[in-house]
Amino acid sequence: MAAVSRSDTARATRIFILALLTVYVFFSLGPIFWLAISSLKGRADLFAMPPVWIFDIDTTGYESVFGVGAAAGTASAYGVTDALVNSVIVSSIGTLLAVLLGTLAGYVCSRHDFRGKGDFLFFVLSTRMLPPVAVLVFYHLMFARLGLTDTRFGLVLVAIFANVGLATWIMKGFFDGVPKEVEQIAQVNGYSRMYAFVYLVLPMVRGGIAATAGFCFIFAWNEFAFASILTTTDAKTLPVKISSASGATGIEWTQIMAAGVVLIIPVLIFFYLIRKHLLMGMTFGVLGRN
């Protein structure tokens, strides 16, 4: 009999664990699903209590977000499109340069042992850890003095500095995964160090560079603090635009929901592309090096 009850309790705990897991999956994925649905609801359905599952699709939110259709040209043309353009430009240029600098610095830190390397790596990582608000107190002044406030160039500079640290560490992780013998074989067989780097090592970390770019883009795209303080009108990025919707007149929920979905879609695409290197990205290239 003891055997039977032992397997009973085992089965009971297994069901209990399964229940907890399903609750967590609901808790984790439900809100995203709820956001997608709410962005298609009209004003009435949006505030209905109990919440409505079946409703007729209402695209006013999206129309006002893109200033087309009914809301074309009207005041409520909330004009998120130029914020979207700003976000795309700032994020992609910022990512490109951050990854370029990060790849070069990451390679040298992976291959060479120079004096002060430990300090350099700590300094680079700590730039990633800085609370944005603390640094912004000075940036606010500096940008004003240099006339960078409310310019895309200013935000690109911020995107580069905020992500170059991450890019350096992740790329160092990927370069550490490439055996040191690659350069040694090339050098002994008559090639220069630079040749080995460009033609042998870089092709071996192609996946790594793409993953680093994915991470930097996502973090640059989601950046809010710097953009909100350092922009006033025409350089606003999408996250800032969304937050300004909750101004004095209360919250324009239909527009926020639609703009929120528009903001999430590129992130989910990039996320899908880099899912294999998620661990490398989130732990600065330290874990996940197989």
Partner: protein
Amino acid sequence: MSDALLKLSGLKKAYRGKPALRGIDFEVRPNEIFALLGPTGAGKSSTIQAAAGLLDLDAGQVMLDGRDVTDIDPACRDLSIVFEGFNLLPVLNVYDNIAFALRSPSYREDEAEIRKRVHATAELLRIAHHLDRDVGTLSGGEKQRVAIARALVRRPCMFLLDEPLSALDLKLREGLRSELRQIHRDQNSTILYATHDYHGAISIADRIGIINQGRILQSGTIEEIFARPANVFVGRLIGSPAMAFFDAEVEGDQVQIKGCDQTLPAAPFGLSGRTDGAMQLGVWPEDIHVTDGNSGANSASVYAVDNRGYECAVQIDFGTGLFRKVLDEGQTLKQGETCGFRISEGAGFLFDQASGACLSHQHEGAAR
């Protein structure tokens, strides 16, 4: 031109304070296979990288073919290298991996010549049928053959092999080793071969350099090493089974061996100067005569038995220590049996207790 093809003198290198090379001095003569034998971490790889110029030395000089190449870029030293694990560039297939050596600025050849030499070398190493395969699909043995082919195809003035075979199965290792030896004889090439495996070293090398903690303790032919081991460490590494060691006390002209009631005359050891006191007596197993029962001078017991087909080796426990010995033809002993042993006159070497350095300078080799 000095008779050495590669001459390393006074190589010193420390990584963040931890010394890897503490003064490496040895030379490799043309058409010779020189084995660098020592445990893992003794500095073998650092020595090979120093010779190839891949290491920024703190001090020391590298002479190659009479030329001082210490500061010359690795690309211009005309050496080739084979590592233990990673050798093949995954981005290239087998043919391109071998041809890689002939497409560099320093050693460029035209494509026709490359094709001829790659096929000839692939034929030599029996991998001609793998030429267009992706390197990822090759087995361990095939990968090392391709690496050796790439090293051969360029006909460098010297080959640096850093434990090229120790990752392979025993049978594969022996096969590749005899092929390497055969190729060496055909192409009269010069090879520096680093390994931690005694059997590997003696079965391929003309001369052996024993390295430990960044220093070369001794280099010479196996006969020279048997004739006069320079250090206790050498005795423990060389020979299968290795040297037997006894604590000994030198008083006047007698050498009293602890743990057995046999004393040896001190004269044949040729001790320079009056050096009494405790020492270590090292004796090659071949110079110890083991008898069953307790007819020999000193009584002991058999600790363990290792039969190797033709011969049977035993480990003898004589109270204060152990030593191993291959029994003579037809003699057999069981674990636990008592036995006796005698050290033959004039055999053995005295080593300093502290430094382990060899003190006796007898010239007539104890090894027959």
